[in-house]
């Protein structure tokens, strides 16, 4: 999705915090939700919000959202190839 010379704005007000989850932690997440990786919500490697993080397919991204109901909420996305 990211094109050549695209301007990235990872600190835009709409973009929540994205971070790569360590392998160890990823295993815990999978165990906690008792699910297969593909069953997680997906994100493309080329997503403008994570291209700067040095992600590769197979990583797990932790997203910390600001929430109107809970104040703060955590969401996970599994990085897939385009």
């Amino acid at each position: 999705m990211v094109k050549k010379n695209q301007i990235l704005v990872p600190d835009h007000v709409y973009v929540p915090k994205h971070e790569i989850v360590s392998k160890e932690e990823a295993r815990e997440v999978i165990a906690k939700y008792n699910c297969r990786l593909v069953e997680l919500p997906l994100i493309f490697v080329t997503d403008p919000a994570i291209v700067g993080l040095g992600v590769k397919p197979g990583d797990l991204i932790k997203i910390t959202r600001t929430s109107s109901t809970a104040g703060q909420a955590v969401y996970y996305r599994y990085v897939v190839e385009v």
């Binding site: 709409y14 990786l37 919500p41 994100i43 929430s67």
Partner: protein, 1263 residues
Amino acid sequence: MSFQSAKTIDGIRFSVWSPTEIRKYSVAEITAPETYDEDGMAVQGGLMDGRLGTLEPGQKCLTCGNTSARCPGHFGHIELAEPVFHIAFIDNIYKLLLMTCRSCSRLKIAQDDLDELARVMSREAAYTAVSQKRIPEMILEKARKAKECPHCGKIQYDLIFTKPTNFIEKTEAGENRLLPITIRSRFFQIIDADLELLGYDPTTARPEWFVLQALPVAPVTVRPSIILETGIRSEDDLTHKMVDIIRVNQRLKESKEAGTPPLIVQDLVDLLQYHATTYFDNEVSGIPQAHHRSGRPLKTLTQRLKGKEGRFRGSLSGKRVDFSSRTVISPDPDLDLSEVGVPLYIATKLTIPEIVTDWNIERMKKLVVNGPTQYPGVNYIIRPDGVKIRLDFVEDKQTIADSLEIGYKIERHLLDGDIVMFNRQPSLHQMSIMAHYVKVLPGKTFRLHPSVCPPYNADFDGDEMNLHVPQSEEARAEAILLMRVQDQIISPRYGGPIIGGLRDYVTGSYLLTRDDTYLTPAEFTNYAMLGNYNGSLPKPATKDAKGRPVYTGKQLFSLFLPSDFNYVMTSKWAKGTSGSKQDVVIKNGELISGVIDKSSIGAEESESVLHRIAKDYSNIQAKTFLNSILVIAKQFITHYGFSYGYSDLEMSEKSRAQILDKISDSYDIVDDFISQSKKNMLKTTRGLSVADSLEVYIVNELSKARDKAGNIADTSLDETNAGRIMATTGARGSSLNIGQMAGALGQQSRRGQRLLKGYNDRALSHYSPNDDNPDSHGFVKSNYRDGLSALEFFFHAMAGREGLVDTAVRTQQSGYMQRRLINALEHIRLEYDGTVRDPYGHIMQFLYGEDGIDVAKSDHGEAFNISRLIESQRIVDSGKKAGGEEISGVLKKYTKTFNPKLKSTVIEAVTSSNLSLAGIETVCKKGLDLYDRAKVEPGQAVGIVTAQSLGEPGTQMTLRTFHFAGIRERNVTLGLPRLIELVDARKKPTTPTMDIYLEESIKNDREKAIEVAKNVLQTRVSALASYEMDYKSEIILKLDRDVMADREVTAEDIELALSSNKKFKIEASESTIVLKFVEETDAPGALAIRNKVLNTTVKGVPSIERITLVQNDGEWVIQTTGSNLQKVLGIEGIDKRKVRTNNVLEIAETLGIEAARNALINELNSTLEDQGLEVDDRYIMLVSDLMCSRGHMQQIGRHGVAGSKDSVLARAAFEITVPTIARAALAGEIEKLRGVTENVIVGSNIPIGSGTVDLYMQVSKKR
């Protein structure tokens, strides 16, 4: 006891029948075109062959020997003389031909690449899930371009596909038609490995099977013949079509044997193809439809399955039921809120099965004696051996009654107190079907309490409703536990009451609770009794003029409030009147001041008295409260004698003159605007042209005129005026309505515009052309009371017509949106671990609504209302105020499980509450308890509730695209069209706009803002120059120096912008730029170049068409029409972090999927909010999360969420039925029956809500 073996379908595999299988399944080869002979016997080898199944009851099947009740029917087959294409697979045939070599039938891709793809395909790694799906597309793209086969090196030819069934190959020798037989032999060679790459399952679908050699003949049970009254047999459409096929097939076979010229044989083959095609699908484009003798198009296989009345949606997803009835509804205010009045006649037809026991046998016997005709009676008796006795024709009922034994089952009439389900279509939300208690009444209509109209959206102008009688104990238990009216008072859409007082109930309670309403003890006690009050009576509050003790109306109202109820609020009435503004104050269950109106007991009013009672006490208490209050209000207003009529609109001459004055003042102002614009002195607004600005000013002024007229009318009526009472209390109507009745009707509009056209330069032929008097464009000065002039009436009818069309279109559009939402979300449920998933395990949310709170059980969207808890504690609280440390200790203990937001609100409220330690402890304990109760339950159908919560308000939205909310506003798509656009995930919204914020340093500087704005606004050559052209050689651009100066563009800029175009040379001079064509062109070529030149962007951002500068809290913001996020981010001086656009897909591309989710939530929220519709955030979040869950934006519809469902049947039942099934067959898909639609189709329990729960039993290994 009888036992039924429980067979359940585990799954359904879809596949393509091979010719071998067709022949193997066949019980008879069908060769004869005749169906019956002269004696009326089925012809052996004909289409009605006895081996294909039975039709008549007595007949025995020649294949299986069963009678018609048990014989399932058997397939036969036709051997085709020449192979023909199966029309459902024609696209796959075309694609395969494009991809494979014409000689060796391998995919025209190098072996290395194929190996690579096969490797990707077989990769187990989960992150390739998406990329694997793209492989077939990639292969097609690559293979179709190959000029030479990489495997055998043969030259490939171009292929022409003429729809529907002709393939032509372009060889050097000329065009060569590919016959099915050649294609079949080519497909025969395709190797399995290649097919697997394309997503085929070669074990269930070989491509050569797409070419039919044998045609299955459906069993007769599928196409029964009917015998008309005249005794003539009439065959099914399918039989007719098969006859055609057999006839042509026969002729083809004969002519082939007879050695007829190939050209004629080919014609017959084409004819056979035509018949075979129309047999499968009679709506293929490109060929004529096959017709019945009567001229009606035949309904063949595809038509049977497709569409609303087709097999999937008409017979499988929607089934007909017994034990239901339907009739007109009418109101009965004397019923309980949760009752339904059932006509006696219906009560004797609908039955409930009841088992005879020791305890009820006497009662049952009496019922049996009454029989089916006398109410209450019995229609059927079912003996334990399963024999059903119909009592209609039983002479001696007493004997039957005496023979009744324990264990018998009787089907007795409906009785008072039975639970039934009551429903009104369209069933847009869960409150459209509620459980009521039966009250058998005389008459022929269903009776319901007027206050349950809002959830059903019912009125009594002829509406009909349906009633269903649950037949099992389980069904009744579920109805009572989940569906009763009282449990539906709180709407899950926004966590507030949807049921409440309306119309006269509101007026009645206002009249009752007014300050000057007094009741004698006799009246008071009567009303109290009506309201079912059975406590002790209070003391009369005052004495009347004669010194007799009297009660106040407020005292009567207070009787029904819980004694520890405290409440403060401003009533609607207090807001709407100029007089003394008294808040509604309820202290310890006593109404101290204020009046009770819609905001206290009304339907769809959050935070009302009713809402508080339902939430702080219980649903049952809310129901009894409502029942009592409403019946009293009704009785009170009946005795009071409240009416509204013509005389209530009478106004003084003075006020009438005032109204006319105000209108003519406004007319003067309008005239002024017009003359200003004629002199070209009018100040334009928001980048509009002079004419458009003028229109905006006029509309604005005229709407002011209407408001003024309405206000005068409104204020000239005193506060006891019935109309004003109704408007201010919220019972019915608004001051706008009163204004239109007594003041002036105001501007009539069409498509949000004044009535400007219709005839040449005028709206009606009665006016002179170009008349600019507001009268001639639909401003109505008259009111409804005085009546409209003929011309005004005409204008009014125009606007009225639009309103009708609007509602018709809206119901259609919102209905379809609802269907799509339901289809996309129906299978989504809450799992035991708190996640929201589809039945295949895909996670949509990790915690429902991010806080796990069920809106229906919440307090207006919050887990609980901490300030109400503290307030009620404060009254009983005693003792020393708790210290800071003590408080935080208690808080720590109780708020552990809370989410950050709830935690902080609770901590803040409790710390500043000044309660004692014990008090705080109780508050926290209660809070924690309420929090735990408000959580969603596992299995909850959160998807369906979400779809309903978004779909139902859709029906209430306006269709009008634009509105003028003042002069400064932009034109943006609003309401239903915008909502549809959002869930559609369109590439580009109809009205893209951006809000561009400026960098910190310049955000308060207007000059700098203008400078930035000029860099944002797109400036095309066409705006800067006029042109002259010579079609052969050149275009002369004449520069407009004024505009150029304004836009800060130099001639060099223009030259630079045009320099990239190589079709001409640029020669610049002082005031012109001449573009000399490099090659001589013709007129169309020159015009193309001209358009290109004029559209060239010289400055600014492409597609930003208009800009407006707006000041927000001192900060300048650039609002644009047109959106281009990526380019705008590159402009200097803007705050990149805050730039916004309403184009969600653009955000997904430039900021990522998470940003798109946030943007989508914002857009959905503001669209709904703008219409004044309250929808809880959690629903909007779930829809947005669903749409964004696959890494890109998916639409709610067949190309997105609904189309990517795992279930074949669910997809087929939604849209594009037949292609979906064909696709599933060639991929060998397996239907696992985990979702909702699938299970409805096969007739098993749906795995949602109480259907998720199952009993598992460990069978003991011993014994």
